[in-house]
């Protein structure tokens, strides 16, 4: 069994809180109504079976008894809807990790879970890298050799890095500081999103600090590579913690799944609840829309919005819902005159980070997202707002509609 440096935690010790929660299950099936995966494939019997029920048969020092839990995408919806507080998705994540430890991890999972490495390799050679991500023979090869599905949505390397821009940029000194955690998606694929976040924050009187930072480890964690995930998230926490000077400091991020990793998942799923640096960072981290709506509620958000005469569909991704803060983007977008926002009620686009990229799961992910794609098409909205980058790529891939972070619309409405 592996022991993790820094955490002193054994991988096979399911944190007591998670395991204890299974006794609260009353078999009401509410989680089953919401699971996007079990509703579309017989390969996955669902959260109730694989979570609280199968957990009773999992014994720390004995081999895993069944593997279907590998088909759980880790979207977390089951935990959100369970009325009894059972930590279903977290239990599943632990069980998946155990299978990985017993049977090894595919090379593919070692590669696609490292956005920083991919980003560093791809950025300098962006045109070539982007081309090969789009060339059919290359994708077929990648599917054959690595198991990355040939149709899976692949982002484009921007060819520049956000952090380079940030280094050259000086935020006006207002004394009201905010720490910006941009994540890998912004760093390598969508640096313009980061520039918009900075502009929005500055427009509202913040002085933005951008610490040197790396991946949060979420892709590693969701593929069951817990040791690597712990190392990665702790490294990030150590990088951010010195910037948290007091209880009023805010770390803000636009990558909603990565902020969730910092806030909760690393502590609950990876069992790092007691790491002091991570705890500090976790408590002080805010999602960008959470922060902006909170400012608005206090009467501190500038509302000098120009009309944006458009209709958009808004999808709150599963990971955003995992913050347990409602859907702040909906209320923010409602502030923009002329903008008509249609709320999508289907819960998941299917991709769940890297799940939908995997050859054996691509079709399932596309089916899992089908209810959402159908709603988006039926909404008549030509474009989509969604807080998570991988979900945006999946939505665009499936519906052909452009998809942006909700803050893009705020940025436009401010005329920045």
């Amino acid at each position: 069994m592996s022991t993790e440096a820094g955490s002193g935690l054994r991988d096979d010790e399911l944190p007591g809180l998670l395991r204890g929660s299974l006794d609260h299950c009353v078999k009401c099936t509410i989680c089953e109504t919401a699971c996007p995966v079990s509703n579309v494939t017989p390969l996955f019997p669902g959260p109730k079976y694989c979570g609280p029920q199968a957990e009773r048969y999992r014994v720390a020092d004995e081999p895993s008894v069944e593997w279907s839990v590998d088909y759980c995408s880790g979207c977390g919806i089951c935990t959100q809807v369970c009325p009894q507080g059972v930590k279903i998705a977290e239990i599943n994540a632990q069980a998946r990790n155990k299978i990985k430890r017993e049977h090894g991890v595919a090379l593919r999972d070692r590669i696609i879970t490292r956005p920083t490495v991919l980003g560093r390799l791809g950025t300098p050679v962006a045109p070539v890298a982007n081309l090969s991500l789009r060339l059919r023979p290359a994708r077929i090869l990648a599917e054959k050799l690595l198991g990355v599905h040939r149709e899976a949505p692949a982002p484009r390397f921007a060819g520049r890095r956000f952090s380079r821009w940030a280094k050259r940029h000086t935020s006006p000194r207002t004394g009201r500081k905010v720490v910006y955690f941009h994540g890998c998606g912004t760093e390598y694929y969508e640096p313009w999103e980061g520039e918009k976040v900075v502009a929005l924050l500055e427009h509202n009187g913040f002085e933005v600090e951008v610490p040197k930072q790396d991946c949060c480890g979420l892709p590693l964690q969701s593929s069951g590579l817990f040791d690597d995930a712990r190392r990665t998230v702790l490294r990030l926490a150590r990088a951010l913690a010195p910037f948290v000077r007091d209880d009023d400091t805010i770390i803000v991020g636009n990558a909603t799944s990565c902020t969730l990793m910092l806030k909760r998942e690393a502590r609950e799923i990876l069992g790092l609840a007691d790491d002091p640096a991570l705890k500090r960072v976790s408590e002080r981290t805010w999602d960008i829309c959470e922060l902006l709506l909170d400012l608005h509620d206090r009467g501190e958000l500038r509302t000098d919005f120009r009309p944006v005469n458009e209709t958009i569909a808004y999808h709150a991704p599963c990971q955003q819902q995992g913050h347990f803060i409602g859907k702040p983007a909906l209320d923010l977008l409602a502030l923009i005159p002329g903008l008509e926002v249609r709320e999508m009620t289907a819960r998941c686009c299917g991709v769940a980070g890297t799940y939908g990229l995997k050859a054996e799961k691509y079709e399932i992910a596309m089916k899992a997202g089908d209810a959402l794609f159908t709603q988006i098409r039926a909404s008549g909205a030509p474009s989509v707002a969604c807080d998570s980058e991988t979900c945006r790529w999946q939505i665009t891939h499936a519906t052909g509609r452009p998809s942006v972070h909700p803050i893009d619309y705020l940025h436009r409405a401010y005329g920045l």
Binding site: I30, T33, V81, Q84, R264, R284, F324
Partner: protein
Amino acid sequence: MRRELHFDAVVIGAGTAGLTAGARLAEAGARVAVLTKGVGSTHLAPGTVDVLGYAPERVSEPGRALEDLVRSRVDHPYALVGRGCVVEALQWFGERVAAGPFPGYRYVGGLERNHLLPTAIGALRPSALIPETMAAGDCAAGGASAARVCVVGVRALRDFHPALCAANLERAGVDARSVELNLALDRADQNALGVARRFDDPGWRAWFCAELSPHLRGEERVGLPAMLGSTDPHGVWSDLGRRLGRPVFEIPTLPPSVPGMRLFEVLRSSLRAAGGRLILGAEVVGAERSGERVSSVQAHAAGEERRYLARWVVLATGGFASGAIELDSRWVTRERVLGLPVRGAPGADEPRFVSTYLDEQPLARAGVAVTGDLRAEGVENVLVAGAALPGAAAWREGSGEGIALATGFRAAEVVSEAEGARAGQPGRSEAVV
């Protein structure tokens, strides 16, 4: 910056009671957050609005029986809100369904008479306000039809056995028979929601009807498990009626309940349409008091708990089943969220439980002690709604949904009235500042 949010009203719980209170408050202009640990009983219960089914004999005219109940049982939740409020709440609900997310879908009935609807095991259950998709199943004298019922099942659908259902209907005096189709559903075991998603697809419906038609005879009406579509129930139900050329109706299933999920969606979208916020996963874990008031509640969130400050709190956390009220090993009952006093629990020398599970359990009458206008005793700004209230035995009475709807509705009204008075306006106010 601290995580402190300010609202006019915070509602705790997203079952029928909480969502109704939240939607009504938002419609009256209040800034509302509905905080909830998870979804409530909507996804489990049949999706009908049962007002009063037994008192204690089976009730055929709920409006009249309600009047008697209000007079004779002053501690009952219906007595606190009055018959007029029940009427208004039902009407409001019907309007929200009509304006809701399912085009054409509506509820039928009211307080005049109870329908008698088949359950999954073929018992007859009295209910006042029901989805149109269930109306043809009414077996009450003078009800929808006296035609024979053909109960149709699909083998892969778990927990629904058409032969059992039909046999029990026969015993209850309803002419019934059954058909079980053995359709390939790509898995051995499917729940009602899974089949409902198939029904969304017109091609699948056509195939289903082609498979079923040869089995149907004469003037039968067709009873199917409640799984007629997840996104467009009116469209699916009408289409089946047309294709099969006879009345079709839904029979509520064991959980998950597809019609219940529709009911949830109707209320949730009403809340949203009026600008209210629903915050899932926000289990309330503590509260602060100042004097006779609760000034804020603390709710779970990723990373750090959030404090919600509000002038009003509506407690709609349900009863024992949802963990709102607990009984400890010393037989002490407790309200778990705000620590409010509980009333109606049997005394030390009285029986708390009876040995037959579904009989009236004395303990089930326990609930949060309230004054006549649903205010929690000793706290000025906390209102209690739904299964958290004492005095009812909803399981025996067949009154759970009616109580949740009417008391949720009334709680919002009490807030609006108080705010109206505060603003110096006479009577009820439309806008809460």
